[in-house]
Amino acid sequence: MNKTADICVIGGGISGVAIGYFLLKNGAKNVLLLERGHLAYGATGRCGAGIRQQWGTELNCVISKYSLDFFETAQDELQYNGDIEFHQTGYMLLISNERELEQMKKNVALQNSLGIDSQLLTCEDARQIVPILNTDNLLGTAFCQKDGHLNPFHMTQAFADAFKRLGGEIMTYTDVTGITAANGRVTGITTNKGFIAAETVVNAAVGWAQEIAGIAGLDLPLFSERHNIMVTEPVEPILGPMIMSFSLNLYCQQTPHGSFLMGRTDDAQPRDLRMTSYSGFPELIAQSVVNVMPALKNLRVLRQWAGLYNVSPDNAAIYSAASDPKGFYTAAGFSGHGFMTSPATGQSMAEMILGLPPTLPWQRMDVSRFDSGELLLEPSVV
């Protein structure tokens, strides 16, 4: 079965469906999206489901604020039949030492200057919001009420449904086996379901972005690393915000459903696209969480799973157009926060591909920054 598309997006995670939606919204026609498994099979369906604006670089603040503003109206804009479960119960970032305090002061000042309503809280104020928080070893916290939780499966489905409503087509269980080019321009994609003629191809495979770029003859400075998450049984709501600590290496939130999600960065995790569970993880994350919120100690654990962070050298995303072959675009390197910035990814990639003026400063996110040294080093990641 051979097909023709104006633009072909590879990857049915949040980034791919957002790019597809924003392309059509901005006037593109005949857009086809390919996914190797089912929608949200990869990193999106395995992520921590948090949305935050409290970043340490101007660029990340700007794109996350743009994305959060979009999520606030997404249910209506996308006319989704389900519930995307966007609950703005806040993010609380714990401050454990003087260095962290200095960084948070800088971050909050930066965020406030960009219209993000974050603030520093004393331990006492933090306990007003999270009574179960153990503040014994804390100097305070940073807090932003507008941050929160969003359901990754429903958000992906909401973009996908809107994409299809605007005329987009999605092919699942479709494996990209090759990308063809002639005279330095992309001409199409070979798949297990036949050839697709397309002069524009967008690599939104994220976890598998190097693989797809490699097929097109490009070498991107990315690697995919396994990260683990654990979830408990659901209980009545007792925790509003996402609790996060960079120095204690943890994040933990109670979902609207009542379960507690928790994750950390483990040392020496495989970078070979493995998504099996890591046996050393439960013990370490349980210790951190019980230490920070002792009241959770009797919660029973249901399962753990793993997904991929696609990591760039400066922990910031790459939005890039290849010079050879022309017509090949990449959105990758989200370093664990591609879900929460997906509207910015979608709008930016649409503008880049369609030649529209930039809403966000996406030119600075080009892969060439690693040669020129104009890095976007993000200090605030778990």
Binding site: H38, L39, A40, Y41, G45, G82, F153, H154, Q157, V231, T232, E233, P234, H257, P282, E283, A286, Q287, V289, V290, L296, K297, N298, L299, R300, V301, L302, R303, W305
Partner: protein, 270 residues
């Protein structure tokens, strides 16, 4: 396929049965454990060391027929109800089969019940000889049935006499709309049919969009039901449909217990 249907093949069943000479000698446990999962209550329950020591907690149990006396301690300890005891020395014509049975109401001694095979199909009538349900058995009673000796490889369960249960693949005939499929997350059959009609046609997709299978049972109860529904809706055999990522919980553990794991390891090493 066992992982899709929960039903082992005849070859698999025979591979775990003791040889005929051993069966003739008297009661012995038969362990139908085919999936490597981290689980060892059977091994630790046996006081005679008749289940060979595990090198890895995921090892499959192997019975030492010389040491096993068919006491049945392991039967109610197995969370997967995978163990029974067979006693060919019970009488001249009859064998005794001791089965774990977690259904209400429990039968009474002397009742006649319909013995069922591993697919739920009737095999023969059977007399209930004994019903054991002590506190130590932790709500997994053991029921002893007398059956004709020729049926020992077939009988694995039973139902009330005269009421054969619906065969596995026909469960979905015409249930009413409020039949609950996922008890952990309150998803009824109408919601499931709607999801299938919308194009969510694999266990993993249905799980992600609806939370089905994400609750405390981790799919143990609902996944077979959904497979049967998908089978009906798509005209495929259950064995052709992937059960998705399968993570059964033996017993859920608290955060504090997991957090204390390394401390307990250190204590053990001392």
């Amino acid at each position: 396929m066992l992982i899709n249907t929960g039903i082992p093949t005849k070859e698999q069943v025979l591979s775990v049965f003791p040889p005929a000479e051993r069966l003739e000698k008297g009661p012995v446990a038969v362990i139908e454990c085919f999936q490597r999962i981290p689980c060892n209550p059977c091994q630790t329950a046996c006081r005679r060391g008749a289940i060979k020591p595990f090198e890895d907690i995921s090892d499959l149990p192997v019975i030492d027929g010389d040491k096993c006396n068919g006491c049945g301690l392991c039967v109610s300890m197995c969370p997967g109800l995978a163990i029974m005891v067979v006693d060919m020395s019970y009488s001249k014509d009859k064998a005794l089969v001791k089965l774990p049975y977690e259904f209400a109401p429990l039968p009474k001694e002397g009742d006649t019940v319909t013995a069922l095979d591993r697919e739920g199909k009737p095999v023969c009538d059977a007399e209930v000889i004994k019903v054991l349900n002590t506190a130590a058995m932790d709500k997994t009673p053991v029921v002893s049935l007398a059956v004709d000796k020729e049926f020992i490889y077939g009988v694995r369960h039973f139902g009330s006499a005269g009421v054969p249960p619906a065969p596995y693949n026909e469960v979905s005939s015409q249930p009413d709309d409020i039949s609950i499929i996922c008890r952990c997350n309150d998803i009824d059959i109408k919601q499931l049919h709607d999801l299938i009609a919308q194009g969510f046609t694999s266990i993993d997709e249905i799980k992600r969009i609806s939370r089905l299978g994400m609750g405390p049972c981790q799919g143990r109860n609902c996944v077979p039901l959904v497979l049967a529904e998908l089978s009906c809706a798509m005209g495929k055999n259950v064995s052709e449909i992937s059960p998705g990522t399968y993570r059964p919980v033996t017993r859920s553990v608290s955060l504090a217990a997991i957090a204390a794991y390394s401390e307990s390891k250190e204590t053990l090493n001392e």
